[in-house]
Chain length 213, copies 2
Amino acid sequence: MVNVNNKKIPASTISRLFVYLRELSELIKVNINTISSAELGERTNLSDAQVRKDLGYFGQFGVSGSGYNTQELKAALEKILGRDKTWNVAVVGAGHLGMALLTYPGFADHGLNIVAAFDSKAKKIDRKIGDVTISTIDDIEKIIKAKNISIAIIAVPAQSAQAVTEKLVEAGIECILNFAPAALAVPENVKVKDVDLSRELETLSYFLVNKKA
Amino acid sequence: MVNVNNKKIPASTISRLFVYLRELSELIKVNINTISSAELGERTNLSDAQVRKDLGYFGQFGVSGSGYNTQELKAALEKILGRDKTWNVAVVGAGHLGMALLTYPGFADHGLNIVAAFDSKAKKIDRKIGDVTISTIDDIEKIIKAKNISIAIIAVPAQSAQAVTEKLVEAGIECILNFAPAALAVPENVKVKDVDLSRELETLSYFLVNKKA
DNA sequence: GTATGTGAACTATTTCACAGCT
DNA sequence: AGCTGTGAAATAGTTCACATAC
């Protein structure tokens, strides 16, 4: 739940707006100019009411009786979501997961530029992955500030995650995407989003355990 | 929201039980035998009431005035979550992300064994990653059945995700962890969990957009 | 006729608060 | 005294349903 000019908006709404935006880009690619909330919902596995409610938090973008203009709605969402801006991102930890993120082709299209990578293993320092050179973790503060990085991705083992977090916070980072299976302690102004791969899989497996029970 | 012997339990509760379980293992490692809901909550960034409520869905595991026995609670949670069982997992797509998953060390500790990998690129077929040999996507059905695989991870590009999903469903898969940024259409009995890395980062970046507004 | 926008109803989830146990 | 277990209250989020607009 997020505060936007004294309105309370579910965090899940924000997340879905990105889904609508992506779908609108696809629609525009195939020259579809108008779409109803029902159709947009169909394509994103959401209900028509959900689509309308989500958009309704931010204004009135549709035309009664016909639907939404894809170009206009896309432009409006881009504005709302700050997609005119781009962000510099750092990856901490250059193991397999860190490497996957460093070479993930999807980020750039979304205004997310990975401009730095850090690892603690001497062997990895100075290796170049695409445009990014791996630096030592000791240089976090210096590089984060120099490169104007606003988002960090933690892809280190659980036991070093808290220490890394503290370095990042000291360097002024306020947004962290955390892949380590650890509960990070951070000041209030810092936003952490956890992605816990084992937990996702385990939660899924619970469905198997509990089925036909 | 999940049905367990005519009780309705939030899906998020299930997911948190895995977090408690992990924390209990840590506590046992350092010889802590008793823990209160408040302390357990502290360590997992959750409230004491949340911890008690979550556990309360499944029974009474605590002792008034003292707290929970770590060993007993761990054993109880393992039983509830089916952690006595192990699951065979397939990864579809052996790009960087697929490779990261194939070599991710965390799964095995959680009863999740990756026993097959698939890719469409001829170049990759028959390559061996650890114990797993990459097979052609055409063999999905054969191998899924032969190896008794119950969970599949989709790590292919968005445009091939639906086709892969259909092959998996035909092969009898009922649990899918989907990393492709695409809304998958599946029959009702199939459970899909989406992990959308760009979306996670974008949602996080919205925090930056909207701050100090 | 068709589809939006939105209060109201409903459902889900978390937090409160306290009786009761050790 | 301290902490659990749990109804009740509060908060959050989704779906309904319909007046309104084109």
